[in-house]
Symmetry: C2
Subunit: 367 residues, 2 copies
């Protein structure tokens, strides 16, 4: 069953007349057409017993057709009232849709009121946000393939970054080298701002790369990912720039042990929270529990803000096709920070990571 | 009067009890604290007769204090219900705010319903979206200063791009060179995806840079800008890669004439639409009217999606401090495209551009 068919079936089951998809990433998910319309209106309407249609800015109509969308697409010009036009197109299908489903987590109050103005008797009783989130939980083989390719580019980015590391370069300089190398290969978008943090700076899991020069005998944290055909990668490696001391080595060893243990434990049926617990117990027992200050992982796919969340309290059972990060971290203020992360997809009997850069402690010679 | 004071005064005038600012860019505008909270809740509450407060994810609280925010900031943890906490903080100030102002163009239905759940008797009668848009129309001297610095970096980017142009490089390669040079200078964010388009590709004002090699005797369009301290630049230059033919030169000349005429006409009191008309008349008279397929310009400041819109139908009178683009274009399908753009701010008797790269036709030697 296609992604679209699932929504159509849900509308039938819930006796809803129409679904209004407003999030451009979700429109990409259902239609293959990805474009951020910013302040313009881009919408997908799905019906229980009729073909769907896309409503788009006029200048996007040709692009929608190019991606192979086989249903109608209607355009509007900047001076036209998009919601009056939307009503005209809906009227051709259902004169008075009463029971609506909208994306409550995305639709603005302004647009909600615009629809209400066109349909004063409409009831907005269906919330698509959790339905779509649930549908996105399980990736298809085609999606997994894109995530794997995005992962390969993250591995390329690590290699580039490790090779670039040398004296008198700043964190920002390394970001520049990585993104330059990717762009030269045609990878034009990172999935989020590349994070390079060295020494003490890495003890703050937030904040941006600085102009600080990366010092010998520090650890350097790389957290990065790219966008490939609408799907992302996200991975973290922490390396040593020259020899490091025993305490640095120790937090690396503990963090790696936690990461591997959690990754090894992934299989269908295990609760998401259990993975967090496994990793956290290892870090706790080693005495670093207070320095692991975030959840173990997050779902990912089109972005790094999907489900399942790998944390205490989320007892959702893992299933094949779920994709998420496993990223324990140990952040000791004023000293150093380590995080090691792979994103994986759950398989029939375990999981497979999307990134393959070695997680053994890598000591990069000072040059 | 500060940006915040203006909202406070508006609340008093409209007899509103509370304003809920939800757009992170608008929070930056009023508080100086800029952070995209993605799915977490970041909010600013303003009262007619009491000091405002920021409500933020716990991990952001220290950062809010660091930017010099002198009023309260309250945090919440991921497992807490943010809207229940928000109510507790509001209750300390006003037990039962009845008349609310929200940002209808930003607040999602989900968050709107969360507030309604806490305040079942609330009336959401004020819409902050147009009020803030209007306030942002006039930039302060401090904002103009940031826009000028962002403009200087755009000029640097043009110089880098022009110098990089040589045979066997693709559009994407030139993007890579520009963004690399900026990152090496610490400018880590572009204000939008850099557009480099050559030859026929430039005839489509939309779409991304390709792997197509830039050919000698083509025109090459550069549309780019950076983010500097929360404010952007946005400028376009079209150059010739080697000698070009008379028709290419002609559309360049006409486009430049239109750009200069519109820019020369800017002064307080003139309607925005008049500038569009001036530029369009020149292009029409030269016989290229059908190829100028977008409005003349858009407002800008924190992003390129502000007001005033410089187009037919917008008769808003320009005032000192308004900032916008002037960017006529001529796009001949299958042949070439030219666009020339500066963003300007209106002064007491004219305007000043933020970018200063020469607009005379530049012929870059083939190498």
């Amino acid at each position: 069953m296609s992604h679209l068919d699932e929504i159509q079936q849900w509308l039938v089951e819930k006796h809803l007349d129409i679904a209004y998809i407003s999030d451009f990433r979700n429109i990409a998910y259902f239609t293959g057409f990805e474009s951020d319309p910013i302040e313009r209106v881009l919408a997908l309407f799905i019906f229980p017993d009729h073909e769907p249609f896309i409503f788009a800015p006029a200048l996007e109509v040709e692009s929608v057709k190019k991606v192979g969308w086989k249903y109608p697409v209607y355009g509007y010009l900047d001076h036209e009232n998009p919601y009056a036009l939307i009503k005209e197109h809906i009227d051709k299908i259902n004169k008075n849709p009463e029971n609506w489903a909208i994306e409550k987590g995305n639709l603005t109050v302004e647009r909600y009121e615009s629809i209400k103005n066109q349909y004063p008797n409409a009831k907005f009783i269906g919330d698509l946000t959790p339905i779509i989130e649930k549908e996105k939980l399980i990736k298809t083989p085609d999606e997994i393939k894109k995530l794997e390719i995005a992962g390969q580019w993250a591995d390329f980015a690590f290699e580039t970054g490790f090779n670039a590391l040398k004296k008198n370069l700043s964190e920002q300089d390394i970001v520049a080298e990585i993104q330059y190398a990717l762009m030269k290969k045609g990878i034009m978008h990172m999935s989020f701002d590349t994070i390079i943090k060295s020494g003490k700076n890495a003890a703050d899991p937030h904040g941006a790369p600085t102009k600080d020069l990366i010092q010998p005998h520090e650890m350097v944290l790389f957290d990065l990912g790219v966008v490939y055909d609408g799907y992302i990668s996200d991975a973290t490696r922490t390396v040593a720039f020259g020899e490091i001391d025993d305490k640095q080595k120790d937090i690396y060893k503990v963090c790696l042990e936690a990461q591997l243990a959690a990754q090894d434990a992934v299989k269908p049926g295990i609760p998401a929270s259990k993975l967090d617990e496994i990793a956290r117990n290892i870090i706790d027992k080693a005495g670093y529990g207070e320095y692991f200050i975030h959840r173990l992982g997050h779902g990912m796919g089109q972005s790094e803000h999907e489900f399942p969340s790998i944390m205490e309290g989320n007892d959702m059972e893992l299933k094949p096709g779920m994709c998420f990060s496993i990223e324990p971290g140990i952040y000791i203020p004023g000293f150093a920070g380590v995080r090691i992360e792979d994103c994986v997809h759950v398989t029939e009997n375990g999981c497979k990571p999307f990134t393959h850069t070695s997680k053994d402690l890598k000591i990069i010679p000072i040059k």
